[in-house]
Amino acid sequence: MSTEANEQASSEPEYAAQTKAIGSVVYFSSVSQNTARFIANCELDKLGMNVYRLPLRRSDPAVHIHEPYVLVVPTYGGGNPKKAVPMQVKQFLNDPANRMWIRGVIASGNTNFGEAYCAAGDAISAKCHIPYLYRFELMGTPEDVQAVQRGLVKFFADLTAGKVDVPGMQEAIKANEQRALVH
């Protein structure tokens, strides 16, 4: 499926930026809708962000992103960190043409899961060499919504100014660009 990845047209956002776009957010939410509620409460389109939702089922059309984005992901696995990243998110990131644009991750979870709390954010941050920006529980509180609104605006400004870096980030972006080109 990734052989034609780079020629795929960009998917339509669920919420399109209402002003000049400053960046994008890609999120996954299962039928329990916790993350979807959090994203809806953030109203990121009003802050100039395109918001894309990853599909729930394999039969749904895959999402293709061609712009820098922050991934918002719930932690799965019920306490087992090995199963922390939802399958649908892995499938999305397995496409190098999608992966080359990830710039940060935000994860949700539940402190009841102990060491596995928000482990999906750790896993994706370390594997993709991108900053782990924030984490919240379940559908987030009003304070979480405000922090993410403020934080994402600052983050995309920092990104434009070239002030976002973590070890291995630039190398990972270049490597993914090359992989996407080879395919």
Partner: protein, 331 residues
């Protein structure tokens, strides 16, 4: 002889179909996902070396002994209700056969939880102390009241109210009790006992999530006015239970001076219980600022700074590597 607490609803409805459960034909994939999580998390108290806590138990004061045993009998009572009445009462309302199967797992695990407190008791305490704590639990009016409130809904005729009561029990009513082992563990006391409680806490999170999710699925079949009335009912019930929890907390913790700290933990978990039901948090951040030591005891990395947004400058940080099922990754 102590009679069993469950009184079957009449007419007793156990099955309304004559078809076998087919796990290869799912109506709601969440059923299988949660079944897998619950069975994957299966545990028994015998696996945890609670006897290593004997020296630590012996160093606790008499007041701490009494408090611990009262807290654990209170938790035993709730687990008994949830295992024998609560989770079972949800079965006749299930929308899918797989949902019924998940409730049987929840009911069984609640009985494992209830038994694990007895296993802790038998390791650490004398029969006389154990009997005294059980008598206390039968006489504490606030404990009895919270048991009565949820039992009334379990035996009532409204499937939505039953799920709300069940979710509030799983995600809120346990936490006045869970606080204590987390507090001890933060002070390097009874750390193996705390490991047992952490396993229980992990299970309750999945139970609250699942029952809350099924509640939300059920709401889809109601009209908007009916949904509004369920939301009002939920906040009213939470407030009623919260008032009772405050009094229960005072009756337990005032002697050791922890009432205020416990109440923050209660409000923090009340918010999470509401979220499991799909409703916004009720208590503001300043009322739910749980003692960081308690939070760290619950989740060892919960106190690490993961709000790089709020920091000054642009120092961004990476998460720590997590071993995940690598077969699914292409890179």
């Amino acid at each position: 002889m102590v009679p069993p607490i469950s009184v079957p609803r009449k007419p007793l409805k156990l099955i309304d179909r004559v078809s076998a459960i087919n796990w290869n034909r799912l109506e709601d994939e969440k059923d299988l996902e949660v079944w897998d999580r619950l069975t994957g998390n299966f545990w028994l108290p015998e696996k945890v070396p609670v006897s290593n806590d004997i020296p630590s138990w012996q160093r606790l004061s008499e007041a701490e002994h009494t408090l611990t045993m009262r807290v654990f009998t209170g938790l035993t009572l709730l687990d008994t209700i949830q295992g024998t009445v609560g989770a079972v009462s949800l079965i006749p309302d299930a929308l899918t056969p797989h949902e019924e199967a998940v409730y049987t797992n929840i009911a069984f695990m609640e009985s494992v939880h209830a038994k694990s407190y007895s296993s802790i008791f038998s390791t650490l305490c004398s029969t006389k102390e154990i009997d005294a704590a059980f008598s206390w639990s039968e006489e504490n009016e606030f404990l009895q009241k919270k048991a009565q409130i949820v039992l009334d809904y379990y035996e009532g005729d409204n499937p939505y109210k039953r799920k709300v009561a069940s979710t509030l029990l799983e995600s809120f009513l346990f936490y006045s009790g869970f606080y204590l082992p987390m507090y001890f563990s933060a002070h390097a006391k009874l750390t193996n006992t705390a490991d047992v409680i952490r396993l229980i806490i992990r299970d309750e999170a999945v139970h609250g999530y699942y029952i809350g999710y099924k509640y939300q699925k059920g709401l889809e079949q109601l009209t908007q006015p009916e949904r509004d009335s369920m939301q009002d009912y939920t906040y009213d019930l939470l407030n009623e239970l919260y008032d009772n929890e405050e009094q229960y907390t005072t009756s337990l913790y005032s002697e050791v001076g922890l009432v205020e700290d416990v109440e923050k933990f209660l409000r923090y978990n009340a918010n999470k219980a509401l979220m499991n039901l799909g409703y916004p948090a009720l208590f503001p951040a300043e009322a739910t600022d749980v003692n960081p030591a308690i939070l760290a005891s619950l989740s060892p990395n919960a106190d690490e700074n993961h709000d790089f947004f709020s920091g000054s400058g642009s120092s961004y940080v990476m998460g720590k590597a997590v071993e995940t099922d690598d077969d699914d990754w292409d890179f």
